[in-house]
């Protein structure tokens, strides 16, 4: 790691051996990285790789269990974000923290108001200072407009100005482009270059590889909680970076014997989802999944996969037609779709898959609260649910002291095995598996793949969404690539390499 940055000056930020554990998981393990002053340093990694935890540690929101943080060569121990701010670190959050009904000036000074003679606020000098900062870094921020009148890009510049106003010399930007349209992204990158030209240091968190390559001076890759590589963006391609992020240490999820039948289990026609801002996040998607078929959807995250899944589950309003077997289910409620035999392994198991503070057997009921063996009429069948939870624990090898423990006490892999077991119960005809092995250990991953293969052989239709290209290629019978909400390519998983798939995902190369 040390050799990656050859510099005579002290690094602006240096992390060594950072480890952070949460009950049941290690979020960060032995993180080591060095950020040079005046650089845009990108940290890339999949969702759940541990980027956010690392940034929270650097910004004083979490304290590491082990390891050392050095800012400009001095060891620091942050107890709160105010310590980090005092050390010259500023954070621009993904979700803006601005009061709409206040002006830019009022938002910027909020919490560190300049005083004049004790009580009065000195707006004059603040306005001057904001103008100065805005001019120095060409941010083009007018202190006297209302924030509610600003567009997203301008709001982000106000956020940046806010941390600069507090004297930050090291800026952390958490997924800053997630909310921006392409032109705004270009503008932001222009601003960032202006900032580093003036000697500021920027830590840029993202999983959008093309953006990272275009703006970063140095890149650190995080996978499964630890730093796996530090690379120079001039020396790598998006494909190589994707491989580093995803890794190839994993057992291969081979599925070669086709079990695909002719019976269509799920058919989707012209499905479109609009976000509140009228943007089309899923745009006219159509596909069929037959019994015994795994349809994989490849794509860089944030290209409409999550919205597509939620539309099929009925959790999000959508236009278009969804048929399960012969029946048009487009207008059905989530519950009715589940009852009709749709299983759902959600992308974020903590948000959508589990009741963390409830025992395992209550989690067994979740999503199946109208079906045997969990209920008898309007009553919960506690004995039945407990018995069946015990069955899942045994069949799916969920490592737990018992079925009365809370779901939060299990490790990610065991939580996921419980979910897989639950969603496979009650004879589903169609299963949505969204990142089924994300954040689980290698052993659980292999087990989950086995279960998916077995269910496929038994005639289950599966929609597989994953960021793990090996998983997609290995498990899928058919592969489609999604980009900006549209299916842009069909790929034959038999003859495609992760490299080819990677370039199809970024819309750069030709699909196989």
């Amino acid at each position: 790691m040390e050799g990656a940055v050859i510099s005579t000056s002290t690094p602006a930020v240096e992390l060594t051996g950072i480890t952070k554990r949460f009950p049941g998981v290690v979020a960060n393990r032995d993180i080591a990285m060095s950020v040079r002053q005046g650089h845009v340093h990108a940290i890339v990694g999949e969702n759940g790789a541990g980027k956010s935890t690392l940034m929270k540690i650097l910004y004083g929101m979490q304290r590491p269990d082990e390891g050392e943080i050095r800012i400009n060569g001095n060891g620091v121990h942050f107890r709160s974000p105010s310590d980090a701010i005092a050390a010259g670190i500023g954070m621009v959050h993904q979700h803006f923290m601005l009061a709409d009904n206040l002006t830019v000036l009022e938002n910027v000074v909020l919490g560190s108001e300049p005083r004049k003679g004790g009580i009065a606020l000195d707006f004059g000098s603040a306005r001057k200072k904001i103008k100065e900062i805005s001019d120095t870094y060409s941010l083009g921020v007018d202190p006297d407009v209302l924030v509610e009148d600003l567009g997203v890009g301008a709001r982000q510049r106000v956020e940046i100005l806010k941390v600069l106003y507090r004297g930050a010399r090291i800026l952390i930007l958490d997924e800053p482009t997630a909310v921006l349209v392409p032109q705004e992204v270009d503008e932001l990158f222009g601003n960032l270059r202006e900032l580093v030209r003036e000697g500021l240091t920027i830590i840029f968190i993202s999983h959008k590889l093309d953006e990272v390559l275009s703006v970063a001076d140095a890149i650190t890759v995080i996978r499964r909680g630890t730093t796996v590589a530090s690379v120079n963006p001039r020396d790598v391609t998006a494909r190589q970076l994707a491989e580093l992020m995803v890794g190839s240490e994993l057992p291969s999820p081979e599925t070669r014997e086709s079990t695909v039948t002719d019976v269509v289990a799920l058919s989707v026609r012209n499905l479109s989802v609009h976000s509140p801002g009228e943007r089309c996040v899923v745009d006219g998607v159509s596909f069929d999944i037959r019994k015994g078929e795994v349809l994989g959807i490849a794509g860089v995250e944030g290209n409409g996969q999550a919205e597509l899944v939620e539309a099929i589950m009925g959790m999000r309003p959508a236009d278009g037609e969804i048929r399960l077997g012969q029946e048009d289910i487009s207008t059905w409620s989530t519950l009715r779709r589940r009852e009709a035999g749709i299983g759902y392994i959600p992308e974020d198991r903590h948000r959508h898959g589990l009741l963390l503070e409830a025992p395992l057997w209550e989690n067994r009921i979740l999503g199946h609260q109208t079906r045997r063996p969990n209920v008898k009429g309007p009553w919960i069948d506690r004995a039945g649910a407990r018995r069946d939870t015990q069955r899942i624990v045994e069949q799916y090898d969920v490592r737990t002291p018992g079925i009365e423990v809370d779901a939060a006490a299990l490790s990610g892999g065991n939580q996921q095995k419980l979910i897989v077991g639950r969603e496979m119960s009650g004879d589903p005809v169609f299963l949505i598996a969204s990142h089924p092995t994300r954040g689980v250990d290698v052993g659980a991953q292999a087990a989950i793949w086995d279960h998916l293969r077995a269910a496929r052989a038994a005639g289950l239709a599966v929609l597989l969404i994953s960021a793990d290209l090996d998983e997609l290629i290995g498990l899928s019978d058919t592969l489609k690539v999604i980009l900006r909400g549209r299916i842009v390519a069909d790929v034959d998983p038999q003859n495609v390499t992760p490299e080819q798939l990677g370039s199809a995902m970024t819309g750069a190369g030709e699909a196989a």
Binding site: T53, R338, H352, E357
Partner: protein, 381 residues
């Protein structure tokens, strides 16, 4: 998201369970702390803490006091259950107060206006009360579901409206009649009254017959929440709305139903007093019980048995405070004590919970350090 990240609200409303001895540690800690604060206040005002407590216990354990205590506890219990139904789903029904007052007023008017055979008359009054409470609560529920209005705001405002509506209705041109130098609804005839029960040895004082209603409501609350599909959906929504949605729960419908049930339960609050003692809703009908209910629901952590203890404790303090004046001790000391208990219960649970988290983290760290090699897993924090 793991136990370390349950929100303060989750812990406040008892959705996070403490395990083993720790669940006992919290209330013990709270009572000790509340005792300490009250002692300090007593010392400052120049009264001996231990003797004051002795006086209160002496008086509070006399048979008549026990009767009084059971009667107020009955009312408190119903109030707290009404609040707890909402709490279990993350709904803050601050409007229990307005709901029960309006319900009692209209139920009393209906009860006084009709004559029916015994049990039927009582059933009608109780039914009307539940209906009015539910109806009043449904306004806030509809506003939340249709327009996204926070139920905290709307129920607080509906309390004020209920007060005004109540005084408009309680007028001789409308529902009220002159009773002595008071005005109230037309008294409920004997067929609509629920006789008290002289069940406490050593006193003629009668306990509300509707204490049985409180027991039934408590059992019903427990069964509904823990044994039915509806209760499961309700608790799931309270624990994680996103997971509930993904599992097929119609959250808007749940909000509507839970709020209406909370309002219906609120309608019962005034019944023991109305049918067992006052027989009329007059200007001196007890007020503010909805807010007492909030405190007791917090104290009992929304658990039906916990709430029973909370209601009894509250009622004991209230009843025994009557003796303090005779000993020239300000009875307000009891309100300080009640406030301190609620506050310290909240703080104690928070402290014990934090202790549990760090203990858990230490245990995990130890196991990872000694046994199996650490696995790095993505923790979405």
């Amino acid at each position: 998201m793991n136990s370390a990240e349950s929100t303060f609200t989750d812990r406040l409303l008892g959705r996070v369970r403490l395990s083993g001895l720790l669940s006992l540690a919290a209330p013990v800690l709270a009572v000790v702390f509340a005792g300490a604060v009250t002692s300090i206040v007593l010392l400052v005002s120049g009264d001996p803490p231990l003797e004051t407590l002795g006086v209160m216990i002496d008086y509070g354990t006399q048979p008549r006091s026990i009767g009084l205590m059971l009667n107020s506890a009955t009312t408190f219990y119903l109030a707290a259950i009404a609040v707890a139904i909402g709490f279990r789903m993350n709904l803050f029904n601050i409007g229990v107060d307005g709901q029960y007052r309006l319900a009692a007023l209209i139920a009393a008017a209906v009860g006084g206006a009709v004559v029916l055979p015994g049990p039927l008359h009582v059933a009608l009054i109780i039914f009307v009360a539940m209906l009015v409470g539910a109806g009043w609560a449904s306004i806030a529920a509809l506003l939340k579901v249709k327009r996204g209005v926070s139920e905290v705001i709307s129920t607080i405002m509906l309390n004020a409206i209920a007060t005004s509506l109540g005084s408009w209705l309680l007028n001789r041109e409308r529902l009220a009649v002159q009773v002595g130098n008071n005005i109230g609804t037309k008294p409920i005839p004997e067929s609509g009254q629920v006789p008290g029960m002289a069940i406490i040895p050593g006193t003629e004082y009668k306990v509300f017959g509707l204490i049985i209603l409180a027991v039934v409501v408590g059992v019903g609350y427990h069964v509904l929440l823990n044994r039915t599909r509806f209760g499961f959906d309700l608790r799931a929504t309270g624990r994680s709305e996103s997971a509930a949605v993904a599992s097929g729960v119609n959250v808007k419908k749940m909000v509507l139903i839970a709020m209406i049930m909370s309002g219906a339960a609120a309608g019962l609050i005034g019944m023991p007093q109305l049918l067992g003692a006052s027989y009329t809703y007059s200007l001196d009908f007890p007020t503010g019980l909805g807010f007492t209910g909030i405190a007791i629901a917090l104290l009992g952590r929304n658990h039906p048995v916990g709430i029973a203890f909370g209601a009894l404790l509250w009622a004991f303090l209230g009843t025994s405070s009557e003796i303090l004046q005779i000993h020239e001790i300000a009875p307000e000391i009891v309100q300080i004590m009640q406030g301190t208990i609620v506050l310290s219960v909240i703080i104690a649970y928070e402290l014990v919970h934090r202790y549990q988290i760090t203990a858990e983290q230490r245990r995990v760290s130890r196991e990872l350090a000694s046994g199996t090699p650490p696995r790095a897993e993505g923790a979405s924090v």
